[in-house]
Amino acid sequence: MLFMIPKKRELKVRKAILRGVYEDNLRIIGKNPVILSGRVPVFFKKMFLFFSITLLSILVNGNYLNLPLFPEKQTTASLITQRPSSLPAEKPVVKPSDYQAFLGGKEMPLSRMFGLEVKTIMIDPGHGGSDSGTKGTMGTKEKDITLDIAKKLRERLRKYGRYNILITREQDTTLPLNQRVELARSSRADLFISIHLNYLPSKPINIIETYYFGPSDDDKTLRLAEQENAGSHYGLSDFKEIIGKIGETLKLQESKEFAASIQKNLFLNSKKQNANVYNFGVKRAPFVVLLGVDVPAVLAEVSCLSNREEEIELNTESHRENIARYLEAGILDYLNKGEVSYEAKRSSGRR
């Protein structure tokens, strides 16, 4: 419908739209427009979020304190020097799904074999659709960055030709955590990595940390877990029960190894680009996505959206490509470790 003389109302709408475009572009370059329209001030939203999270973390915390299933301390990624990553050309003998039976239960030494059998790797870009995850001051959303990094990682891993690389979401769609878990299970993924961005409103720093599933008694970790679990259909009571059932399984040990490899590669390489990045190490946290998956699973907080410089960097193609590269290195490093012990074990078996 085209009117020769625009109606008054239409003029008003147009004015609002033009202003909207202007403000949006200010945000892109990192200037914060004074928002006039009747939105809830961000401050109040944050306060609300803070209180609800605090409350929840107190609840969760209470539960975990009664469950000293994991006596070991939280480990920090050891800084091992890099080895070239290559994989054995021959066909793996045992499928990951067989390994438990093959090993006859809890025996440890062969666990390293696991890495060898990896055929299907599932990459999980955090959040999506109506769940934006965290958001930087310029308006950058966690869900968009994680998706892009995930796709880049997929391309990189595909090049090896020997893995089947899956991704939990291809587009900007809402995908509840339990569906991600379902996907990983039904597609029989052998390795699972969930990609996220951190947010530390109180400190202007950039940190990198990698998680695997387990109870945590760290306040900040629990708060983060609440945020990352927000889209799940699991309740706190489910957690309690599930954690009770989990033992010191192979999956957990492997997940820890995997996490250490990811963290090491992410951190050391990021540090080369930017000296101001902090290593928060490998941690345990009750993330739903990690819990539901039966295979080694980690959640990497690859960068920090609350940091201005980092947000700008994350908006560049090259930085996201780099992060994907570090994750690739972390995955291959982990898989590669399996090779060494596998070879060792096999020769000793022939003896």
Binding site: E10, Q171, D172, R320
Partner: protein, 342 residues
């Protein structure tokens, strides 16, 4: 609107740019309209440079000389592609070239509004800004379907479906700049049809030689959904000799492959609104982008969406320029105080 001249800013050239995955166009306030294919090519080596005679080539010319060139289609999948520096460089070259095509006067300041695919806007806005800022004095970046909507005065209760090459962007307008939830991007678009058509054809004619470019040309020439009278026959080489091939059914299947996702996403987006608004939006659905040229598509969508009440779907008049025209209109309507020097 001529308000800018009234404000005595005659020495400004307003430009609207549609930076597309396959085609990019520019509309300028001096009435130039130009477009190129979004390909950039750099000579591979010194000899290639001698052959093509230019340091950088664009669009059709770049495609023609592809063997001598490092070819780059920077926004291939809706976002700035891998290869990184090269892609950002390519975006820069495209913008520079388009602005040259608009022939600004030497002393003229350039105020640009650039429309980009919605997904590009999410993760590449800074890169886009960087690429454009060298060639413009002031600049705003918006999402492509929004520019189309603005240009057609569809500010309220409307839905624009922009079927491009890499992505189809949907955008609902309700009187404000579209929010996150008013926009959706799906991969059911031109490139997807090309891929389908390519695989249908290689399956049906395993001995004939196809390439992606040929297939795209077939599509652009014959695209349709549902019904079409007459045959579709094309010449394709078999063992070096041209042979006629019947491709009607394959074209139809390939074009129809995007329909389910289109209908589903459209329905989903409209369903979020109150029934009263649903009716209004459904009477204001506009198809844009190269994909809107598929014959029968408008009628098909109108019918498919009728299930829940009356519905009116139209196509933009000029899919090649509807984005850049809209961006130009935005630029010209923008109050002077919003144009900040870079």
């Amino acid at each position: 609107m001529k308000q800018k001249e009234a404000q005595g800013e005659g020495n400004i050239l307003f430009v609207g740019i549609d930076l597309g995955t396959s085609r990019s166009s520019i509309s300028a306030s001096n009435n130039t309209r130009e477009w190129i294919e979004s390909y950039v090519g750099w000579p591979k080596d010194f000899i290639s440079l001698q052959v093509v005679g230019k340091p950088v080539l664009f669009g059709a010319e770049a495609l023609k000389n592809r063997l001598s060139l490092d070819l780059c289609r920077p926004l291939e999948h809706g976002v700035i592609k891998e290869g990184i520096e090269k892609s950002e460089e390519a975006v820069k070259e495209i913008i520079k070239y388009l602005i040259e095509l608009a022939k600004p006067q030497p002393e003229q300041k350039i105020y640009a509004v650039v429309g980009v695919p919605a997904d590009t806007l999410k993760v590449n806005k800074l890169a886009i800004r960087r690429a454009v800022s060298e060639f413009a004095h002031s600049l705003m970046v918006v999402s492509e379907p929004f520019a189309v909507a603005y240009g057609m005065n569809l500010l309220n209760n409307s839905l624009v479906i922009d079927i491009g090459a890499g992505t189809t962007d949907l955008c609902i307008m309700h009187g404000t700049i579209p929010l996150e939830e008013d926009q959706k991007t799906i991969l059911a678009a031109g490139d997807y049809i090309d891929e389908q058509l390519y695989s249908y054809l290689t399956e049906k004619y395993p001995n004939s030689k196809f390439n992606k470019n040929m297939v795209r040309q077939f599509k652009e020439q014959y695209s349709f959904v549902k019904e079409l009278s007459g045959d579709i026959r094309v010449e394709i080489p078999v063992d070096g000799k041209p042979v006629m091939h019947d491709i009607k059914n394959e074209v139809k299947r390939a074009c129809e492959s995007i329909l389910p996702a289109l209908v589903e996403t459209t329905t989903e987006m409209i369903a979020r609104f109150d029934p009263e608004f649903q009716v209004r939006i459904k009477n204001n659905i506009v198809l844009a982008g190269g994909g809107s040229l598929i014959r029968g598509l408008r009628e098909y969508l109108q019918n498919a969406l009728k299930e829940y009440g009356p519905c009116n779907v139209t196509c933009v008049e000029d899919p090649l320029f509807s984005g850049s025209n809209g961006a130009l209109k935005l630029a010209q309507d923008m109050p002077a105080k919003y144009w900040e020097p870079l």
